[in-house]
Each structure stands twice: as C-alpha cells, then as structure tokens.
C-alpha cells in the first residue's frame, strides 16, 4: 500500500453502521491531487454515504479519513469545508429565499464568523467575482432573481457556482446531471470540464454516457465495499461489475 502522504484524500478501513447495517464496510479509497474520480454502483451501494462521511455529515464508526495527511474524522462540517472540501447535494440545495447574487455572495469563503458577517462590506471586487461566476454558470442575466424562481437545471448550476466561488481543493458532486434535459446535460459537462481544472473532483453518477464523457478513473462500489477500480474500459469489461449491475 502506498504511503498515504502521496494522496490528497485517503480513506482507510472506513466503516459506518446504522443499527447494525453496515452501509460502508472497511472501505479504502485514495484520491490524487488533480484527479477526477467517478464513483458508480447499484442503489444502496453506499455512494452517497461515502460523500456524507468525507464531508462530516455522517460520523464514521471506525477507520480514518485523511485530507492532506491530516485526520478529518470528528471535525464539524464547516471546519471540513474551511479546509477545502466542497460538496454538492443530489437534489439542488440552494437558498430559495435569496437572490442568485446573494446565494453566491454567501458562498464566498470570507467573513464566515458572526462578526465578519455583521460587518460585511459588499466591495466592487466581490461584486465582480460574483459576476464572473454567474457568467460561467449561465446565470449572468438572472443576478437579482429569487433562486426559487429558477428552473431545475438552473438551480443545479447555481449550486455548482456556489461551490466554484468557494474554491475548494476537493469538489464532491452527487449526481450533477440528474433530472436535466439533454441540452442542459451538455452544458453541464462543459461546465464541469471547466471547473475541474486545478482541483480534485469526486463525482457520483448513474448516467453512463455522462460518465464516459468526463471520467478519468472509476470506482465501483457494491454493498459498502470497493468492487473494482480502474479506467472506464477496464471497468466495463469487468465480469464482477457486469454481474452486480445485471443482478443475480
């Protein structure tokens, strides 16, 4: 096994159980700097739980999760975010009662304590940064719209924009194209290809065509364990993977 210092994110022997049911079982997963990793697997394989564990939403029962060689198990969610791990949820998770501008402004990694938020000053620099991001996420014309009035696809983009402005070193995306139209999917793939520069990305996705269009390396989860790992071709040829997906 490689020295863990080589990896940006290293999960070792991670187990979590809900009332005896092991959703994730003795899992090892290593993510390199600048890597794009896609996690696939049948329903209930523990994909979302793995993301929940990394970002601190669910506590591990045993095992270790290291980010830049520092243990992050037991840290609070916001502390993990501050260290540089960002997370997008399965269903678009944005602030519906705020405008697009305000959604992005809140996500800027500055003034994150009570005093900082109270004395927040909306400088031209901040406005410029928010504008920049809205250009990227195709929402430049909707700055002052309440987020709840956006379409489903636009909401997904807004959430990606919120992560982008957060500028994390590891970006975790849970089914970023779920519920999108074909043209929205194409735009999203384009968007993702733009934002994965200079950072590591972990994506959960079902849509195989989409996975092929972005994947570098694929991990297949099954019953909370890694079933197979490798590039897309190798995975598609793997008989174990076929069996799991066809179901026996």
């Amino acid at each position: 096994m490689a020295n863990s210092t080589d990896f940006l994110l290293a999960l070792e022997g991670v187990t979590v159980s809900f009332d005896g049911f092991k959703a994730v079982n003795d899992l090892n997963l290593y993510i390199d700097k600048g890597e794009l990793r896609v996690i696939i697997g049948p329903n209930g394989a523990g994909k979302t739980t793995v993301l929940d564990l990394i970002c601190g939403r669910t506590k591990v029962s045993s095992g270790s999760i290291k980010f830049k060689d520092q243990e992050i198990t037991g840290l609070k969610e916001h502390d993990i975010v501050k260290r540089g791990i960002g997370r997008k949820f399965q269903t678009p998770s944005i602030y519906e009662d705020l405008t697009v501008f305000e959604n992005l402004e809140i996500s800027l990694p500055r003034g994150r304590n009570v005093v900082g938020a109270l004395l927040w000053n909306r400088t031209p620099e901040i406005v410029e940064r928010v504008r920049e991001v809205t250009e990227m996420i195709f929402l430049a014309d909707h700055l002052d719209r309440l987020a709840e009035t956006l379409s489903h696809g636009q909401k997904q983009w807004l959430e990606i924009g919120m992560l982008l402005i957060q500028d994390p070193e590891v970006l975790m995306l849970d089914e970023p194209v779920a519920g999108m139209s074909v043209s929205e999917r194409a735009k999203t793939a384009e968007l993702l290809n733009k934002i994965i520069q200079n950072r590591s990305v972990v994506v959960i996705e079902h849509d195989m065509k989409f996975v092929e269009s972005i994947a570098h390396r694929v991990t297949v989860l099954h019953q909370g364990k890694v079933l197979a790992e490798g590039n897309m071709d190798a995975i598609q040829a793997d008989p174990k993977v076929k069996e799991v997906y066809l179901g026996h």
Binding site: F18, D19, A23, T49, D52, T58
Partner: protein, 308 residues
C-alpha cells in the same frame, strides 16, 4: 437513623413515594400515549392535547350524572360506559380538527403549534361557558373507594390501583394496534417513508386522520381516568401539558417503549425528589434534569439511528 427516621420508616416512606410516583406515572403515560402517537407519526405537537383530555373528563362527569339520575342501580359500571363515550367524543372532535386544521399545516410544524394553541384557548373557554369555571368532581362507585393495607404503615388506594391497571391495559392495546394491526403497519410504514408509502397505495391522509383521531381519543380516556383521582376544571389540561410534552420528547419520537420509560423516569424522580424538597423545587429540578438530558441526547432516549 437518617434524617431522624428509622430504616423501617424510611423504606415505608419510599414505598409510599414510589406508589405516588406510580400514579403520577400512570397519568403521565396515559396523557403522553396519545401525544406520542401523533408526534411520532406526523411530527406534530398538539398543544390542545390537555383540552382533549379535559373533554374526556367532562364526558365522564356527564355520564356519572346521567347514571345517578336514570340508572342508579348500574352506577358500579358507569365508568366503563363513560370511558367509551369519552373516547368517542374526543376522537370524533380530533378527526374533525385534523380535517379542518392540521392537514393544512403538515409542512409547517411550528404553525401547527400555534394553531393548536389557539384551539386549546377556544376549548377552554367553551368548557368554561358550558360547565362553569368551578372545578367539578365525580362520585366514585363504592368498589373504587377505600384502600388496601399492605403493612401497618403502607396503604394503597384502590382508585389509584385501578388507574394503574387501566394504564397497563390501554398501553397494551396501543402496542397491539401499532404492532399487530393493519393500521399499525401502515402507520409504521408512513413514519419510515411517507412518499414510498403513498406510492405503494397507502392512503397517507387517511392514516394521518385516523392517527390524530386515535391520539385524541386516548387523551379522552386519559381524562376519564383522571376523574378517578382528581377534580376537573376548564384549565386543568394546562397543568400537565408541559410535563407531557417533555415525556414525549424525552422518550424519543416514534418509540412506544421510550414513552413508557421516560414517563416512568420523570414521574419517579419527581415524586422521590418531592420527599426531599418542596413540591415546587422537585418539579423545577426534574424539569431541569430532563432538559439537561435532552441536551446530551437530543434524539430522546430510544431513537433509532438511521441514515438521514
């Protein structure tokens, strides 16, 4: 010798306190049962729960008068008739309230709190207008009066014992309903996954309505039982409501066992503390302990650990 009492006296005192605690436990549990079912199922706290109980108590009061006037010979069994009437009256009003009020507010639980508080005010005033502001009591049938002597110092009241037995039976029935009936199965399904339950053909709205009605009906029975050990006034429901909420919240939503355990803990600690401190301080201490414990275990005593 401890605090001037001999050991024998002390153990008798503790036995008496424990018995008083058991009666309190019965009252708490009876009140909490209905509330727990409703809270567990729909995440709704019914602030008018105490008034549904008082409704049951007034129904019992009316029935006892009816029997005294028209069927004095059958007075010994009036209570069982009264209980049924209390259940039906509270349950029926509960169904109506669910239909008129609660079902519109499932997505806003905090507003349900306010709306049911408003309902409780209206019910209180209605009681006051109909039955008067004075407290009323019922005449116990002969067989329920008196006490059994266990030792020369320890006496247990028969009506207390009766309330305890009643509590056991009703808790048993609720458990049976929850774990053996179709309704119970559907309730548990809806609690676990509302959307999925709807998808597999469970009428979740009907289940909600039935649950709310049943919860209120049980409150009615609790009120009926309450007349055996105390008198009833228009605002009596409010006296116990905070304790009952805490019992339910402390026990953990969705757990019958938790409700029983928490009712037992809270009632026993309160009656035991009452011996050492004044009544009010015992109550303060109990409430503070419960609040403190809730901070340590916000999900309650017996909550399932599930993926959210």
């Amino acid at each position: 010798m401890v605090m001037g009492y001999s050991l024998g006296e002390l153990s008798s005192i503790f036995a008496m306190q424990a018995f008083a605690g058991l009666i309190l436990f019965s009252v708490f549990l009876l009140m909490a049962l209905g509330l727990a079912i409703i809270f567990g199922q729909m995440g709704v706290i019914n602030m008018a729960h105490g008034e549904f109980m008082i409704l049951g108590a007034y129904m019992t009061y009316l029935t006892s008068h009816g029997f005294q006037t028209y069927l004095p010979g059958a007075y010994a069994i009036y209570f069982f008739v009264a209980m049924a009437i209390a259940f039906i009256a509270s349950g029926a009003i509960g169904l109506a309230v669910e239909w008129l009020l609660i079902r519109h507010l499932y997505v806003r639980p905090l507003d349900t709190l306010l709306a049911t508080w408003g309902l409780s005010l209206i019910m209180q005033q209605a009681f006051r207008s109909i039955f008067g502001a004075r407290e009323v009591g019922v005449q116990l049938p002969d067989w329920m009066m008196g006490a059994l002597s266990v030792t020369d110092v320890i006496e247990v009241q028969i009506n207390g014992l009766f309330v305890m037995a009643l509590t056991l039976i009703i808790t048993g029935i609720v458990a049976l309903l929850l774990f053996r009936s179709t309704w119970g199965l559907q309730v548990r399904a809806v609690v676990t996954n509302r959307t999925m339950s709807g998808a597999v053909g469970i009428d979740t709205r009907r289940i909600d309505r039935l649950t709310f009605g049943l919860g209120c009906g049980i409150a009615g029975i609790a009120g009926s039982a309450f007349t055996m050990i105390g008198s009833t006034g228009p605002t009596a429901g409010q006296l116990y409501i905070v304790d009952t909420f805490l019992v339910v919240v402390f026990g953990g939503a969705q757990s019958l066992l938790g409700t029983v355990a928490s009712a037992l803990t809270i009632s026993q600690s309160q009656s035991t503390l009452e011996f050492f401190l004044s009544g009010s301080m015992a109550k303060v201490l109990t409430l503070l302990i419960v609040i403190g414990l809730l901070m340590l275990r916000p999900q309650g005593l017996f909550a399932l650990k599930v993926r959210r």
